[in-house]
Amino acid sequence: MTYGFVHHLAPLAVAVPLICAAALMPLSRHLPRAAADAIATAAALAVTAMCAALTIASTHAPIVYWMGGWVPRHALAVGIGFVVDPIGGGLATLAALLVSSALVFSWRYFDSVGTLFHTLMLAFLAAMCGFALTGDLFNLFVWFELMGVAAYALTAQKIEEPEAIAGAINFAITNSAGAFCVLLGIGLLYGRTGALNPAQIGTVLAQRPADALVIVALLLITCGFFVKGAVMPFHFWLDDAHAVAPTPVCVLFSGVMVQLGLYAVARIYWTCFSPALGTHAAAVQALFIGVGIVTALAGASLAYSQSHLKRLLAFSTVSHSGMFVCAIALFNAAGAAAAALFIAAHGLIKSSLFMCAGIVLNRFKSMDEGALHGRGRSLPVTRAVYFAGALGLAGLPPLGISAAKVLFDASFERQAMLWIAAVVALASAIDAGAVLRFGLRVFAGIGVRAPGGPLPQTQPTETRSRNALSEKLTMLAPAIALPAISIWLALSGTFVHGVERAARLFTDQPAYAAATLAHRVQPWPGTAGEALDPSAYAINLAVCAGALLFALAGAFGFRLPGPLRAPFMAIRRLHSGIYVDYIAYMMFGIGAYGVWLILAR
């Protein structure tokens, strides 16, 4: 067995950022800031190129790379393998692209930042690449933990602010508890199958119908990753972390980290559990659709109730997590394709929105809707980018999410579950309406002023106060480039069809197992996808119109009557900002999911 050049890119996509991260730590005392910026950005761009090359190469056949050259013996995995398919590779590419953009954005964003920031960002990048590319359950856990440790430290960066540390503590405790659930689930699977390789686990589990152990393993792994994936009731850490983390870090959290949690659930479901579940899959599907819809709707209404932009965008991410879970829950290739395209487009657009938030924070030192009322009019380019992003979230063509929504609606229509698409469209309208409302008030001065204090006089230390042209350019360039990429991807027919094809391969367990264990890497069949029906875009326009209505209603101070508002206020009060509650909710979630899955057996 010899590996070609492209194969070697798989471990290098992890090793290169790790080596650069290690090198930057001692160099931090000797290098000027600009040099550290340049090294880190160059490394992230190199990883982007490597992951893109891997993704393109994997469209012909999956790329299987065994660390240490330990190829399987008699269909038993000996070592740790990376299995790159277009979906995993694509996610790694997205992660690397967003890290590159966030690093460019941070050149001028931070007034002062140690070079340790770059070390942490590169370790974070390596972890996300490893997480997306690995084909081994315990290795997945290792990268999950590295991702976590880097993310906690990045959240706590503004050490003078106690809120930042408190947010990081909530984040660290809930996510660690989630990680331990995952590891318990992996342990159960290992005890049953004697394997850590998903392809092998799937093959062994398929030999008999799923019993309670298999269901509990699925439960623990799902709940653990749903903590990262911000699915209710495991999402509570997310808005705390987003509210306090520096903007470039929020970009990565909302743009790709949360979605990686959902990717892991889908990947493990398809490779390990799908052959064994049989009729029980219906119960899993009902559960996922149920929590997906609750998360989408509740996340959207929570976003609507926020006047702090970062929290608003964070809840919008929660809402989108619910939508992704709905798409994954179709448990077919069409759903996986919709989810993949949706995640890619959302990542690009949400990142751009967070960068706009960062520019506003940088300029006015506030994130409060009332305090910022009308102030955004002095930032015309940021305003345009923000509105494009807000409407893009609702699915305005030609921004990327429009194509994803068309796939999404079509896949539910084919399963005669159009009502789910309708509910998700409503959630989407509320969610985008919240983002638009903030934009109308802050960037256009439309509507009544939201309650809120004056702009703060004290300067938060996160950002520099100069307003030079170069500063605007380095912050605006990535904010403009990312949505532009999403337009390019959505308009490129080869990309959309490529995603559809990749999703069929993603959901093909026998092909995955054969490629991994038997080393039978067959070129994947090329099938022509159906052309997207242009009339399908009409729904997107309707959602945009709905979002505009919600936005205007909000901007002019329309409020639901008290009794109708009560349930929303109750949900909002659950977000107490303290991890002791979050662990209790998490336990409730595991118990509720578990009782449903066991009883529905």
Binding site: E163, I165, I173, L184, L188, Y190, G191, L312, S576, V580
Partner: protein, 120 residues
């Protein structure tokens, strides 16, 4: 009865998981919470090593004349996994304790109930 006893190790893992979580929910001190989290994590060590145990078998370290095949040994894989897991535990603990010191310096409290984040 002895059959049920053979499930005691796994039950201990479940017990540690739940006991640690209970401690987290009832915690009034950040250091207490960090240690409870460590107890939750120790459930994973116990589960993994119990799964890999083989009765009347030695450690997976061989002496030259007695090289496998033929010699019984417990599972080396779960031991490697647990080693990694212990490092993870130590790192999360060290990060959280550093945050505890920092938050006490800024806010003068280590009671999680006094650290509620303000809502926007």
């Amino acid at each position: 009865m002895s059959g049920a006893l053979l499930y005691l190790p796994y039950a201990v893992a479940v017990w540690l998981f739940l006991a640690g979580a209970y401690g987290l929910v009832r915690s009034r001190h950040l250091v207490h919470s960090v240690l409870c989290l460590a107890v939750v994590q120790s459930s994973t060590y116990v589960l993994l090593l119990s799964i890999g145990f083989l009765a009347k078998a030695g450690a997976p370290i061989f002496n030259p004349p007695q090289v496998p095949p033929g010699s019984r040994s417990v599972d080396p894989v779960v031991q490697a996994l647990t080693l990694t897991d212990i490092v993870v535990g130590a790192t999360v603990t060290s990060l959280l304790l550093a945050m505890t010191i920092q938050i006490h310096r800024r806010k003068g409290t280590v009671d999680p109930h006094h650290l509620r984040l303000t809502r926007g």
